[in-house]
Amino acid sequence: MTLAVRLRKRLTPHFAVDLEFTASAGVTILFGASGSGKTTVLRCVAGLLRADEGRVAIGDLVVFDAAAAIDVPASKRGFGFVFQDLALFPHLTAQENIAYGLSALPPHERNTRVAKIASAFRLESVMLRRPAEISGGQRQRVGLARSLVTDPRVLLLDEPLAALDHDTQSRIIEDLRAWNAARRIPILYVTHSQREVFALGDRVIALHEGTVTADGAPEAVMNAPATDAMASLAGFENVFDAVVHQRLESAGVMRSRIDGTAVDLELPLGFAREGTIIRVAIRAGDILIATEPPRGLSARNVMPGRIVALVTERAQVKLTVDVGIEMHVQITPTARDTLGLRVGETVWVILKTHSCRVVSAR
């Protein structure tokens, strides 16, 4: 069953969500910065917010069609929704929360289904407690179980794991994957965390200012960010402008100069013409450091610079090197000690051509 979504919803005079996508069975991630319109998309699909124009259908079942004046209320769509703050009913126990959407079933069947999902989500021990009396991870599981027990046609998740630690996130993600392996429904999962994108997604749709900017496999979308906002979300610590001054079509590269400096940079060949300003994004972890001018190296970009800051955070060392612009570099504590790196020292920054992503051409 495929979820087909086409929406246009004006939220303010200057901001509108305007997009179209389909999602087949499995997890589709809606990825974007806050304010990109992710939650609005989810609420329109669920029927909690009425889109100005568009159409939402699951298989042959049309639940919203502005042109045909079809607008099935949220309570009749059969779309599960897990809210960012979970919205568990505070006066009901975990068991009553999970059984909430099953009141139309006979008690025997209701109890069987609740017990089954409680065991799938490892909730047996907390079923008689209220939400305020259980841990954050358990509340999350209750929220998921409450939506899934109703056998929804589509599952919509609005940053459901944002408040949890990584271990708990991973375990819940595993349980969700296992659950969906049997049912194969479309799951739309909203997040701004790149970790969740790689852990969960079969496919990522990147949103920026209400429109789709990229759509594809997690690796493809995350490694080729289309906008500044995406680059910083996708973990590109270095984002700066450069001017293209030579295209070498046969070599598949183009030469550019970092804006406002005399530093040249070789980039993968893109659509940018000579003379245009492009935006370049580089991950801090993709940059190498040498304490002597390197020789016999395949990497095409080698720039001398001076260390201006050196900060150790947990098991990572973050260097800031001034090469004309400030370049953020991430290395291990062992590398720092072996190379004897200190602030003020001269080093060489080494960059492979294909570690430099062209985010946008102006």
């Binding site: 959407g101 305020a132 109703t150």
Partner: protein, 224 residues
């Protein structure tokens, strides 16, 4: 002590309180959740008895229920006797007079219920009426109790409206406050004193109950 008046007052307050709760629940729900731009007009009408002198309210009710009014004529057709200066007239007047005391605590507790809970209920396939019964109402129990207690107590304590609409007929419309007034007029201070003291203690107990209920049993803030 005027036991007839006390029993009559309790009977009046119980009936008024029951009718008011049935009436105020939908009004308060609408006030809390409607997005109609002219809603404030309805809010103002509901709150009118808070600022109107009881005699003004009583006067209009008396005119509206009189033998020459459509309501009064209809009543005579049905029952064979006029509506003014009867217990029924007192019930109608008291409902109008205490309406804001029932509606406002309900509306404010409904408005405090987290809207995402209503969205969650909708996505779980539950319609608005059942969501009201299963989520809004249980989370508003302190407000419901406060509304019931306040409308009961306010009916017990009314004077001006009762005098205008019901007069002073022992066993029919003479309530506690009128009985006290009557005692004082007749220089019967001992009886006035006893009834007044009973009313004072009752009022204090009611307020103590209301204030203890304002503390909510489930701390919603504890759920992150």
């Amino acid at each position: 002590m005027d036991w007839t008046a006390i029993l009559l007052t309790l009977k009046l307050a119980t009936i008024v309180c029951a009718i008011l709760m049935a009436l105020a629940l939908p009004i308060a729900y609408w006030l809390a959740f409607s997005q109609w731009r002219w809603k404030f007009l309805v809010e103002s009408i509901v709150a009118l008895p808070l600022v109107l002198p009881p005699t003004v309210l009583g006067f209009y009710v008396l005119v509206a229920l009189g033998a020459r009014s459509p309501i009064g004529r209809l009543w005579i057709e049905w029952t064979g006797h006029p509506l003014a200066f009867t217990f029924e007239a007192l019930v109608i007047a008291s409902i109008l007079y205490s309406l804001p005391f029932a509606v406002q605590p309900l509306a404010s507790s409904f408005a405090l219920v987290d809207r995402t809970l209503l969205d969650a209920s909708a996505t779980l396939g539950v319609n608005r009426l059942r969501t009201f019964a299963r989520v809004v109402l249980p989370l508003s129990i302190p407000g419901v109790l406060a509304a019931a207690v306040l409308s009961f107590a306010h009916t017990v304590g009314e004077f001006g409206v009762v005098l205008m609409v019901g007069g002073n007929l022992p066993g029919i419309t003479r309530t506690v406050s009128i009985s006290i007034y009557d005692d004082v007029q007749g220089l019967n201070f001992a009886s006035a004193n006893q009834t007044a003291l009973a009313l004072l203690i009752f009022s204090f107990c009611v307020l103590a109950v209301v204030y203890s209920l304002i503390r909510r049993p489930w701390s919603v803030a504890a759920i992150s």
